[in-house]
């Protein structure tokens, strides 16, 4: 790629992540449906499998899921340079919006209309994440083993105080051990 098209690409990536940052309300998981739409379906920078891997990895790394995911996706699109672009893109809207409206919003965050709109967004986001979970689930959950793992992970998050990082580490270990057995079977 020559310099000009590289710059154009960077602008395109920046704008995509800027839009995602500007319209995600509710943090890292709420961002998933937007990544799927923009990065996978519209721009085709990543495949659906790769998005699953991104989410699998970013949850095992400390830090902010939304930023981690943006950095990882940016890196996959075009290395370290692009990961800076995508991180800036996703952070900038927050930054501008907070500086402009947070001083006002902090006076009204118990205002009934603000709460109504916000609760409405949460209900909508519930539907969006559910659809993402189903779509990605269809790709990943294909046998009884993966179904049990997925269900167990969800149950641990819902019913215990165990952190996501332990769920990820545990499932990594289980995957590794089972892979070892599979390899052994093949050899014999």
């Amino acid at each position: 790629m020559d310099k000009k098209s590289k710059f154009k690409r960077a602008l395109e990536v920046f704008w995509s992540f800027f839009k995602i940052g500007a319209f995600t309300i509710g943090g890292g998981y709420a961002m998933l449906p937007l990544f799927q739409k923009e990065v996978v379906e519209t721009k085709k920078w990543l495949t659906e499998d790769e998005i699953v891997d991104v989410y699998a990895i970013v949850q095992s790394v400390p830090g902010v899921i939304a930023i981690n995911a943006s950095i990882f996706i940016g890196y996959k699109i075009g290395g370290i340079a692009m990961s800076i672009v995508s991180a800036l893109g996703v952070i900038l809207p927050s930054f501008i919006i907070i500086l402009l409206i947070a001083p006002i919003l902090i006076l009204y965050n118990e205002n009934p209309y603000v709460i109504k709109a916000f609760t409405g967004v949460r209900a909508g986001v519930t539907a969006l994440i559910l659809l993402s979970a189903i779509k990605l689930g269809k790709k990943v959950v294909k046998d009884p083993f993966s179904l049990i793992l997925a269900a167990t992970a969800a149950a641990i998050m819902l019913f215990t105080d165990i952190g996501a990082i332990w769920v990820i580490l545990g499932s990594a270990l289980i995957g590794l051990v089972l892979q070892g057995y599979r390899r052994k079977d093949q050899k014999e």
Binding site: G21, A22, F23, T24, I25, G26, G27, Y29, V52, D53, Y55, A56, V58, Q59, P62, G63, V64, I65, I67, I71, F72, S83, I84, I91, S94, F95, I97, I101, A102, I106, N109, I115, K116, A117, F118, T119, G120, V121, A123, G124, V125, T126, A127, I129, S132, L136, V141, A150, A151, A154, A155, I156, M157, L158, V167, S171, G175, L176, R182, R183
Partner: protein, 174 residues
């Protein structure tokens, strides 16, 4: 991460505990990563625009370094059978975590009838109202959930439009 931020800023005496609760509420209501929102706001309170810039940089930089290191490993290991094994465990667990997130969002909108998601006024004093109170479902929030679900699935509603529509419907019927 939010409790960690709270601990740190109250230790430094930058912001009072009570104000912090408000900041978290606002950070959740404004677009973008919650931790970035909180960092930007607190940074501005403590040291103006540069404070917010550096607070945001501070909250993002460790992520940046870690994720790049992990991403490089990921490339190197992508042909390893054992790494494939690790991923075959993590991938389904990730779906489980995402499914759990669905529940958390539902719990803060459709299910709980606390201050944040109590029954809409037009329902509160009717017999239907007491029915929904018993089953702990906010029918208006459930309706928004269904509209967005069907709108996205059947009519290819864009997620950005879906978020805007949910806010509007929330104002109108919640």
């Amino acid at each position: 991460m939010i409790p960690l931020i709270g601990e740190e800023i109250t230790r430094h005496g930058w912001i009072m505990q009570e104000e912090f609760a408000n900041i978290v509420a606002v950070s959740q209501m404004t677009p973008g990563p919650i931790a970035v929102n909180a960092a930007t706001y607190i940074g501005f309170k403590v040291a103006g625009i540069w404070g917010s810039a550096f607070a945001t940089l501070g909250v993002s930089l460790p992520s940046f370094i870690l994720v790049i290191v992990v991403a490089k490993f990921f490339e190197k290991l992508s042909n390893s059978k054992y790494f494939e094994g690790v991923l075959s465990g993590i991938r389904p667990a990730t779906i489980g975590l995402i499914a759990a997130a669905v529940w958390f969002f539902a719990d803060m909108s459709i299910f709980v009838l606390n201050e944040a998601s109590k029954l809409p006024l037009w329902l509160e004093n009717s017999s239907a109202g007491s029915f929904f109170q018993t089953i702990k479902i906010n029918p208006a929030a459930l309706l928004i959930f269904l509209v967005i679900l069907i709108g996205t699935k059947k009519f290819k509603l864009h997620p950005i439009a879906a978020v805007a529509l949910s806010a509007l419907l929330g104002l109108l019927i919640l």
